[in-house]
Amino acid sequence: MTTVEPLPARQLRQTCDPSQFDFETTAELEDLGEIVGQERAVGAIQFGISIQREGYNLFALGPSGTGKRTTIRQFLDQKATTEPISSDWCYVNNFEQPHRPRTLRLPPGQGIILRKDMEQLIEELRIAIPAAFESEDYRTRKQEAEEEFKEQQEKAFGEIQQQAKEHDIALIRTPVGLAFAPLQEGEVIDPDEFKELPEEKRKQVETDISTLQEQLQAIIYQVRQWEREARGKVKELDRQVAMSVVGHPLDELRKKYAELLGVVDYLNDVQQDVIENVDEFRKAEEAPHVMGVPLPRSLIGPPAFRRYQVNVLADHSEAEGAPVVYEDNPTYNNLIGRIEHIAQMGALVTDFNLIKPGALHRANGGYLILDARQLLLQPYAWDGLKRALRSREVHIESLGQVLSLVSTVSLEPEPIPLDVKVVLIGERLLYYLLYQLDPDFGELFKVEVDFSEEMARSLENNLLYARLVGTLARKEDLHPFDQRAVARVIEHSVRLTGDAERLSVHLLGIADLLREADYWAGIASNDAVTADDVQRAIDAQIHRADRLRERVQEEIKQGTILIDTTGECVGQVNGLSVIALGNFAFGQPSRITARVRLGKGEVVDIEREVELGGPIHSKGVLILASFLGARYAAEYPLSLSASLVFEQSYSGVEGDSASLAELCALLSALAEMPIRQSLAVTGSVNQRGQVQPIGGVNEKIEGFFDICKARGLTGEQGVIIPVANVRHLMLRQDVAEAAEAGQFHIYPVQTVDQAIELLTGIPAGEWDEEGNFPEGSINQLVEVRLVELAEKQRAFGASPKEMEKEEDAVEEEEGEV
């Protein structure tokens, strides 16, 4: 029989020795400049933000609280300050196609300046243009043009009137036109008198009138021509006057923006438009009235001069480098931008001034950080972002337009070229799902920035950790931490990883612990945070969360949940499970029982039969059944029917960490050898009977220890664990102390034989040269029992078939009746 010795107490809890630190408190330590334990991620970030190729956007993946956002932000901020400031982008009116606003790209800070310049220009023109048109000079020149026309008109009509008069004919106005009337003594001749006139005279009059009329028609044509010319002259005069007013200030602006061709073009268009619409400047802008009540500004609609405004979409006047933008609400509109509308007399109207920027506009030329989960939760935001990244342009379209729900397109702003590096931050699951489900994802987010939640434990890293504690304490304005406190923080950090050789870099959890320890130090009026304060913070954290653990332990103590910690029993073993609720996990012992009877070689997992067991648990049970068959019944049929169950388990069971315990219970039942109830077992087995590591070993041990301790430690109690889990041990101080005092034992096992020996106190037994197990060993007892069962099965061999036949015959007979 191999003897498995319990582990020495020092292996149960790998403490951190405070004497390794040569500082009194963390106040003496320098701030930590680097990111702790994230070498892989840091390397990926540095690569990702430096490579200037298409599709090299970053996805920072890892559990929350590992400092992804802070780290990314820190690197981006650093990098951004060394990069050129992004250009300003403006939307201005497109005078030819007002529904397609134009973009203007300007050097940083120039957008606002251009906007102010344009405002000032329009203000100036609103004063200068009316003034120019009221000037004596203009009025005289306009009057000249009008007078000329009047004179031409007067002269033409005067001449024809004179001509008519010479023939005793008058040109008179009728209600709807003009007519020539023959006169007699200055009056229009009476029709009766006209008839009396000699035929010749009448004909003469008729001919005269006809000739005059033709001339009159020609004159009217001519007059209309002159009128057009006069209007043209006045218009040309207006243009000249407008030009004289507009030209000078615009020349100054053109000079100022001479290097920006887009702006110069725009200014030329403005000049042209002002000249063409100079009348708008000449009349005072008055609010229209309805029934004598002036309409509010919002209902009047865009004033005429809005079209000369400059809508600065991205302003970098105060930037000190490339922009780094974090958009915490990445809706479609917040990313891509939107076009707002104003209700005007019941209709919705818009113009280029109502184009609002999105995060992509603000981040253009720099970096945009987004939360992947938030982004995916917003309808169409992910699609919108991808489209922008693929086309390298931002098209502002409303969702209605994108989905073709709205056919009345109000504006189609010119797209803005996009040069941005996007950093998505999210959980690992999201990254892998996106990679698998979205074919575009891999093309657009080529840089995987994987944040780890732990780092290797070493003297060097311990010191880094101490500096991290110091840095966080300073940043958060906490008391400094003394040596022992830092050591205790490191121990806790180790425990959080569930691995004695690793340190947690889950900064959120560590920072919380530091803040809480600082609080308790404050309560205790300590100048520096001590190990006791840290312990108090840990205990308080646990106490706040362990209501359920307390309740379960009470139930066990009271005997409601049946767990024995003394005595022996056949086919019954203490298994261990872990219950994780929120941020807190604890171990709970569970009674596992096994019963065997004659059968067809099946091991029934009762949990699985009732769908309370998960697939991994079922896998564990099938493995142990296979082990059983292979080891003991290789040559004859396995003729048992065994059932395994987690007693008093009313919810699901998952994981294979109980398979060792289940196998031990089964072996005990087969060998009919009792199992010590003072021990609990955890570990999974493979088909060869080797014990494999499991998770949550610390919590499981502590769960059993707490029950034993509550009932009084006998010195017999302990837990059997896989050898491979020894390196994960970071047990509570009290467990380590009990082990030191020989009151509680942790047995590391490699095989199921070692476990069953510890549990039954009987050697497991190994095959001798002839392939037999030693007499009285567990294995021999198991084998004998299985052979017996097989023989019984063989004895019954024929009868079941016969019985089945008989039953069929009866049925047939019944059928015939």
Partner: protein, 280 residues
């Protein structure tokens, strides 16, 4: 103001209406005046017999203006057109009066326009009419009816041209005559309604006379709550008067009918654009 002044008043205002914009301006001004004088408005539309005669002629043709199409004229159509014009004139009168709650009447007579208007004016205290009917040319010259009214009407005449209403400042001539006092009284009424600014042009050949007339006018205007400016005109000639009126930027000119010979009035009226009220 003396009792004699109080007796002189305007109770009936005759508006000679055609459908020109000048006559509409005359209608608006007359209606405004009727409100402040509590007078009654009489609208008159004259169906021009010359037109009817013309329409009866076999040679009659008209050129529709400004469309340049020629059409044959006949009497029935002319009658219809004149009736339509009369109805249009009546509608304008009714609208102007009812808006201001002014008592009104309207009649249509057939005859030669100028004699009919002058005859009807005899029954009214004031004749309001446009400076021209519907002129062929843009330049507004005094039409024949306006010319006759300015020269021959026995009562006061108010002449207006299109798009110009009665506006401040009010400019009035004063030479001490009874009609000048009446003119001053009318000017006072108008000035009170139009912002309280009045310019009195004193027509006097000597400084002493000017002083005396100014004192008279000031005495007359005492207690009227007006801002009054006095200017002396040495010569009451048309040229001088025109220059002064233009210099003052007159909104409305009130003249006593005795200061100028009738032909001179016509010249003056040709020169100034503002409404002119001849007080007789």
């Amino acid at each position: 103001m003396s009792e004699q002044d109080d007796e002189w008043t305007i109770r009936r205002i005759l508006v000679a209406l055609d459908t020109s914009r000048h006559s509409l301006a005359a209608l608006e001004a007359a209606a405004e005046l009727a409100v402040s004088l509590e007078a009654e408005l009489q609208g008159l539309f004259v169906e021009d017999v010359n037109l009817l005669r013309l329409a009866g002629l076999p040679v009659a043709r008209e050129v529709l203006y400004p469309f340049v199409t020629a059409a044959r004229l006949d009497r029935a159509r002319m009658e219809r057109e004149l009736r339509a014009q009369a109805a249009q004139a009546r509608r304008a009168l009714v609208a102007a009066c009812e808006r201001r709650h002014v008592k009104w009447s309207f009649r249509v007579v057939r005859g030669e326009v100028t004699p009919e208007v002058l005859a009807a004016a005899l029954e009214a205290d004031l004749l309001s009419l446009g400076k021209a009917s519907r002129p062929l040319v843009r330049r507004v010259r005094l039409g024949s009816t306006a010319r006759a009214a300015a020269a021959q009407a026995t009562h006061s005449v108010l002449l207006l041209q299109r798009d110009v209403g009665i506006e401040p400042p009010v400019v009035v001539t004063y030479d001490g005559s009874p009609t000048a006092r009446q003119a001053l009284m009318m000017a006072t009424r108008l000035a009170q309604k139009e912002g309280g600014y009045l310019t009195v042009l004193i027509l006097a050949s000597t400084p002493d006379a000017a002083q005396r007339l100014r004192a008279q006018a000031a005495d007359f205007l005492r207690g009227q709550r007006l801002v009054v400016r006095y200017r002396r005109l040495v010569d009451a000639g048309v040229a001088m008067l025109t220059r002064e009126v233009l210099a003052e930027g007159s909104g409305v000119l009130v003249l006593s009918g005795t200061i100028l010979p009738p032909e001179a009035f016509q010249v003056l009226l040709d020169e100034v654009d503002c409404p002119v009220l001849l007080v007789r």
